[in-house]
Symmetry: C2
Subunit: 395 residues, 2 copies
């Protein structure tokens, strides 16, 4: 087995910090940053050639590589800077009418729940929240909670593949199947999924699936995709309407043309995606499968270490864990904190005193705060042991 | 006077190409690219610290520098990747009702005219096109063309400060004043303005003003702003709804909080803006004023050289020229070209044979095609003489 130290050398993370929060913004291997710098140098040497004449071909090459990684046809992939932007594009394109219902879950990502409320309020439609328990005891609980809210008025389900506050891998395959039987489409926010979970988007068959490439695929920030099933593409327009609305298609769909250009921006994060995908495929003998397995095993071990030290119970079955996990803290909600946006005092102590970067979450519905740990190749068991020791001191 | 060669050394443009199209995507001085690389290295050393804890303060510092450059209060500035995105945000936020009219001009930027059609069609409202003649003989012609289309149903005017296909500086001060007297707000697409024209946005008093920093201010691609007059800020929402919709404000407006975060993206283009502003302020003894004057004089000289060689008349008065100008070609519209998106055969010859990057425009309403030349500090008279000679051979 390749030592963590050897793997960590591929990253440019500060050696002074134990970085246990890959989940929030990812972190780029050096080789990806170098490839991006090279692309940017080419762009700046001849901006018009790069942006106006070469970009489409370069994006097509990214689409090929990404399609093969995600298990889907390249032509069903549009580019966006992040999953939130993709969720906005789909929701703002969806023709909600008064009385329509959009189902979300209480574990949903706040930014996207905001977008859901925004579009439904404008249309006189309604957001309906499916209450998934936490701790979660089984996948069945999730499926049941969602189905309990689906009825004749349901037009769409917005659900996370991996939940952000609670780090649970939800059974989206089952949910998509159940909802399609009921004539309801699903928009999956797979912000954390690509690189954490093996994906086969064609087999999944969801109407809409978005994922970030900057998290667990380690592309630069600003690289994400929106997959739309072919029969729904005509109705999905980007959040930013640009030239694509009336430019000649030359055999391409409007979906591709519009999502390939939403105004001038730095295209190098997206263009660096294939470098990141190839880096991981070649890094370990077992390629991406080994990367995902190694990270998942480390995340499971980390929560065992932390739960044992803190004396708190596990919040989700092992089967619902990827490379992200939550660990409840033994004490109640922090007095020093009133909302989910500000930094918890414990988080500040862990960073300032113990030099550990790890988020402390609160959630209006849960009595306790918890940690969310990430496991990426640059992390080792020693990181979580150090965190457990720091928590014993700090709590 | 500092020699062009000395100034051109600040850029990383390919020495093999005469780059006469600064207008499309700009070009970054080396010092800006280095500052951006340094920011990106910091980000990747500690992604969470940079993105979650430091970014707001860093954006506030950019807002200060940019506000002073634009002549406006920093707190009225939101960040966007490009002007098209800002136009989409304003138009999608505007509560058009059936029968409402949105006035645009026939010289408008295609991407933004598309956004205008998109939002009005959805609302049962209407885009009304003000026909500004071309050639333009005076500012009066522009003001009259716009006012001729303003009536009781007019809700908003969308107009370019510097037109893209025709490179004319429009009299937005007069237009904003006339329209405010009639109770109509103006959304100015100043994509080309910051760095080309001296701006005083507070004095201008437009409801909405957007500008790119990546064009004539030479920031990296992905840096632009939206200025909204304070009394209108509550109603303007970004194209991407994110955490800002319900995050605590801590004394900040929702406008600021929402436009400061539209999902994870690379913030370094925006963060490099102050470096670009300071670079130009210090580069020439007369600071930004001298930069703008020098570029404008070169653009005027360039169109004199080219018009004399080609025997074609000037299309706009000198007073309506910034650092971008059009030069009509002596022949008719190209047979080889059917739309405004594909590359004109002449443009290809100029690039392939003569190694000159310059766009050839067509416009459905004009019988002739034309060149659009840009003048930035790295350009010299010799560039346009070379272009004139190349045109004599190619035509």
């Amino acid at each position: 087995m390749i030592a963590t130290q050897q793997l960590a050398a591929h990253w440019t993370l500060s050696p002074d910090i134990r970085f246990l929060n890959h989940g929030s913004f990812g972190a780029c291997p050096r080789v990806v940053l170098e490839a991006q710098a090279e692309l940017r140098a080419r762009l700046e040497a001849e901006p018009v050639r790069f942006m106006a004449r070469e970009l489409e071909g370069r994006l097509d090459a990214v689409r090929e590589a990404l399609g093969s990684f995600l298990g889907c046809r390249p032509r069903d992939l549009g580019f966006v800077p992040n999953a939130t932007t993709a969720v906005n594009a789909v929701l703002r394109s969806f023709a909600f009418e008064p009385g329509d219902e959009l189902v979300v879950t209480n574990h949903g990502y706040n930014a996207c729940s905001n977008a859901a409320r925004f579009v439904t309020e404008r249309a006189g439609a309604k957001v309906v929240v499916a209450d998934v328990p936490f701790p979660i005891r089984s996948e069945d609980e999730v499926v049941e909670a969602v189905l309990a809210k689906v009825n004749d008025r349901t037009r769409l389900l917005l659900i996370d593949h991996v939940t952000s506050p609670t780090a649970a891998v939800l059974p989206v395959e089952r949910i998509v199947r159940e909802l399609r039987e009921r004539g309801v489409e699903t928009l999956i926010d797979g912000a954390h999924a690509p690189g954490m979970l093996a994906l086969d988007l064609d087999a999944l068959g969801a109407g809409y699936y978005t994922g970030n490439c900057h998290k667990w695929s380690c592309a630069p920030k600003g690289a994400a995709f929106l997959h739309v099933r072919e029969d729904l593409q005509e109705s999905v327009r980007p959040a930013v309407i640009s030239h694509g609305a009336n430019s000649p298609r030359q055999g391409r769909s409007r979906f591709l043309v519009e999502f390939d250009w939403e105004g001038t921006d730095d295209p190098t994060p997206v263009l660096a995606v294939p470098v990141a995908l190839e880096f991981f495929e070649k890094l370990l003998p077992g390629g991406w499968d080994e990367v995902r397995t190694r990270n998942r095993e480390l995340a499971l071990e980390a929560r065992r270490i932390l739960s044992a030290t803190l004396g708190t119970e596990l919040q989700t079955p092992d089967t619902m864990i990827g490379s992200l996990a939550t660990v409840p803290l033994p004490d109640g909600a922090s007095d020093g904190r009133r909302d989910a946006f500000t930094v918890d005092p414990l988080q500040a102590v862990l960073y300032d005193v113990h030099r550990i970067e790890v988020p402390v979450f609160i959630w209006p519905e849960a009595p306790r705060r918890w940690l969310r740990i990430s496991a990426q190749l640059y992390n080792s068991e020693a990181d979580y042991v150090a965190l457990a020791e720091a928590l014993q001191q700090a709590l």
